[in-house]
Symmetry: D2
Amino acid sequence: MIKFAQFGAGFIGKIHGANIARHPKAELAYVYDVKTEAAEQLAAQVGAQVAASPEEIWASDVDAVLIASSTNTHAELLSCSIKAGKPTYCEKPVDLDIDRVKAVVQQAQNTNLPILVGFSRRFDANHLGIRQALQTGEIGRLEMMHITARDPKPPALSYVKVSGGQYRDQTIHFFDMLRWLADEDPVEVYATGAALVDPAIGEAGDVDTSMLILKFASGAFCHINCSRRASYGYDERVELFGSQGMVVSRRKPRREVTVYKGASIISDGLHTGWLERMEPTFYQALDALVRVMEGEEMEYPTLIDGLKAQIIAEAAVESLHKNRPVKITYWSPE
Amino acid sequence: MIKFAQFGAGFIGKIHGANIARHPKAELAYVYDVKTEAAEQLAAQVGAQVAASPEEIWASDVDAVLIASSTNTHAELLSCSIKAGKPTYCEKPVDLDIDRVKAVVQQAQNTNLPILVGFSRRFDANHLGIRQALQTGEIGRLEMMHITARDPKPPALSYVKVSGGQYRDQTIHFFDMLRWLADEDPVEVYATGAALVDPAIGEAGDVDTSMLILKFASGAFCHINCSRRASYGYDERVELFGSQGMVVSRRKPRREVTVYKGASIISDGLHTGWLERMEPTFYQALDALVRVMEGEEMEYPTLIDGLKAQIIAEAAVESLHKNRPVKITYWSPE
Amino acid sequence: MIKFAQFGAGFIGKIHGANIARHPKAELAYVYDVKTEAAEQLAAQVGAQVAASPEEIWASDVDAVLIASSTNTHAELLSCSIKAGKPTYCEKPVDLDIDRVKAVVQQAQNTNLPILVGFSRRFDANHLGIRQALQTGEIGRLEMMHITARDPKPPALSYVKVSGGQYRDQTIHFFDMLRWLADEDPVEVYATGAALVDPAIGEAGDVDTSMLILKFASGAFCHINCSRRASYGYDERVELFGSQGMVVSRRKPRREVTVYKGASIISDGLHTGWLERMEPTFYQALDALVRVMEGEEMEYPTLIDGLKAQIIAEAAVESLHKNRPVKITYWSPE
Amino acid sequence: MIKFAQFGAGFIGKIHGANIARHPKAELAYVYDVKTEAAEQLAAQVGAQVAASPEEIWASDVDAVLIASSTNTHAELLSCSIKAGKPTYCEKPVDLDIDRVKAVVQQAQNTNLPILVGFSRRFDANHLGIRQALQTGEIGRLEMMHITARDPKPPALSYVKVSGGQYRDQTIHFFDMLRWLADEDPVEVYATGAALVDPAIGEAGDVDTSMLILKFASGAFCHINCSRRASYGYDERVELFGSQGMVVSRRKPRREVTVYKGASIISDGLHTGWLERMEPTFYQALDALVRVMEGEEMEYPTLIDGLKAQIIAEAAVESLHKNRPVKITYWSPE
């Protein structure tokens, strides 16, 4: 059994904690949260111990660490985790300040420590299916990719203000996804957007509705459209257009119920939130880390992947502000 | 150019007349209808001549005859047409009295005259597609067939009373279809039904909602469900289940328009009537007769097919009344 | 926490055991299986104790019992459970001998003990959706029901021989489902079938491909088609046709992946087995029993429901053998 | 009857000629083509007269003119038609040289002459459906539009070289469509593309695979993706995303035939060419001109619409070459 310590017992922490508890090869030994009550509640549910301080965890014999605390604590905790030599599952983003991300990447360099950054969509069965179709040559060479990413409703304005903006907070998942699907880094991005959903988001210096075009060195293109509010539910789908065919990761309906009535055919719509749609991927991501720790060779979103997605986000923000395409310059640790 | 004479200028006659007129290898020379005004109207539209009497037509040099007059005149007109040696398109049914049908079949025997009975669904692109899938072995050996046949609303009660009942009037199309799809005659039928839509239909001795099971000698089964009233439009679909797969002739939507709104996905529904859905098949059926007259070898619903569908309908009516399966006994001309 | 004892640690027992273990309000205290090794394995996985004998369980302080042992032991265990006053989840069928079922029903009469018979499909989200549409009047009055029930492949011949035949083993789930959906008992059944998949099944006196028509007292009809082998996966779907609309519980695809290639659109097909499709319903059914034990009022498949489904199956078997419709006569305990 | 004269009897001319012939309120009086044989063939088919010269037509008593000759003749013929005061259906584009288009627009100014430019997609039932959904407020305020426009295969290289390039030749249909759907002119365009399908297209200075983003003054965005080669058929679809819902003009399949086989569900794919998909719209566009000539008030793509689409195309070409967003400056006649 792999003994985990977990930082954070909030909304997403509860999901991770329950997943660790039900994983046959993992158990949750410690939970730490600055809100002790939250830590106690989760610990009670899964039979874990509340850690009085982070230090207690670093001093313990846990085998792995899961970081699900608030964003501004990720980088430091991850740094400690690397120092302690613990394989780590770190929620995205690593940090909103790209220099802090680089510092952690530099620190992790040459350690060979498995660090999984929480781009869990990589484990979605549908998205895996289209990636496989591309990789096996079923649709030929990739020429165009289309990603639709729409949340049912904007987050609280207070969150928007500290989130880093739509690209660093929402679109970043798809900056990772396009790299993973294409198996190639984009070299240029053009981003444009506006606050069409809520003027207050615009007043906070952010956008809520965006369209982007990215170019790969291979010549292929990727379009992303992102909205903070789809009135009809959580809408995420991807299309890969290749020289010999197209493959689509379709919308997933809530149920397979259809009513035929009058002049209409009425089916159940989409999930009411991203979590309802994506929840299974959290377990799959955790399972990937466990397998890697057990010596299995398998792909997972690494710290470098986390950095690259943020580098693309930075370029997208620049493009948005300058209203012109921006070259993406990657950075590598020494 | 093949010169046609047409009997009947009513609802369905107008469709046939226009099809003859627009067929590049056919022209409508004469129209006859007991209602002279109807004949004149159609004749004017397509540049044909009104025949003063059927005799004028039989004495003319027309190459072919299309019978679209009222059902009770079909057998006699067809008999005249056979006597005159004219290839004929005869609307279904040949006659509600099976003995009169047999008499005409007997008369046509050994004449080699192309007589096409108006089971035009055989020319529907979707139904042709599933037949081909079965014939080419794509789904293996046929084991089960399902036919759904639902009209948007019942015909006028006055029509119901003279129509011969649901099986001789509505289901008969599908008695022909199942023989054509399976390429085999059914040997037994169990039919059950009720007047669920309109009690007046029940009082007239008929049913409006039916379920049937037919058996083929090969062991395969066919289910038909038939309603006189589908509140959501004209619903016709067929499923062939075979030992190695299944093929479906799906419902056809009016348009490809879908709205995502709230918790629902709302698409355009079905056609509002069978004609909206099946109209192209009338032209295809006419074209088949033209091709056959030009020497092309091709399948079409023959007079024997017309007879067999009616024999099945008679057995179904008997089964309905006796509430037990009834063996189907076919009849062949000498 | 509700303490469960479970009989049976085989294929289906493992699923039930794991569900009890992960239910927040239940725990598995004892496992008994005639194969001690199987019991030990399951007990180890979920932290339960192996019971040395059924008597140990009846003498224990467990709150509830789950019977997942082989069919021929159900009735006796259920009888003991009733004697011991334990709320029970009993896998279907209660017994293949209808008289033994009646005896247990008689015994349970007036006990008010919650006994849930494992027709877990009643808890499927899609099927629940169409039932709700009917109950809320969305499609008007029910006129026709269509149930398609096809397993990917036949069970082992040895199982077929002791299973009671296709109707008592496979179709029985849908005899329960049609009663539950229509909220009404069928009064007559016509069943016909053949061994089209495997002649050996026919030699064993059974059929593997069947079509049935059932009538409700309200006048509505139900068609069921059942196959032991759908080469394309597990195919279960239901259609309710009403006076004001239709509602469909559609097939559920494995994934939402579609490839457009050449002249075809190729989507992922169906689940490879009934368990892949129906597994979530086992947990839901267990949860229903737990809720009922906690005092919640909710519907669940009762012992009477189990009996009625078997009475319909007996009538269907009689109809198959006599090739005529058979009236269904229900039985009630005194 | 409206008497038409038609210029051009090539591929698209044959379609227009046949449509005029079958329109109940129109007839084709004259056909002119520089290739006399082509003119003779079409004239024979529809019972028209071959004009010896364009002058013969301008001197005739025809009521309307249809211009379907080669692109470089459109502007001059249209100019003659305006001079002659003939309502005109003019195939797109009016001219590849925007200054010649402006000259014709200027000439037509204040004439009130119905001039319909052949953006016939405006008459597609599906596209009309989504426009209506937007206009009636069903999806709220428009925020994002997505247009996918993919031809099955590139035109001949010789045609590519004189076509004006992908934007002036292919994408232009969708520059018109987005204006028509949004009921608003775009103010800025960013276009990027490459010759991914055929390097020879790149060597000819053109692209075959493009992505574009356009902005409306209202703040809404439009994405277009355009390919000269979709290996799976003609793929055209449009999505309108609004503040209260989304509406989609879906792909239209060739047939409603689906095979379930093994692990896949295989449906008939798309049409093999744009004509197979769009042919009905040509008749609808012709019918619109006829109705306008008869005094009916109805929308149709005007000469100004033709000009505006070309102005957008010019801006897109500039954006492609400069790799930056370009403001779109419209021009109005005095």
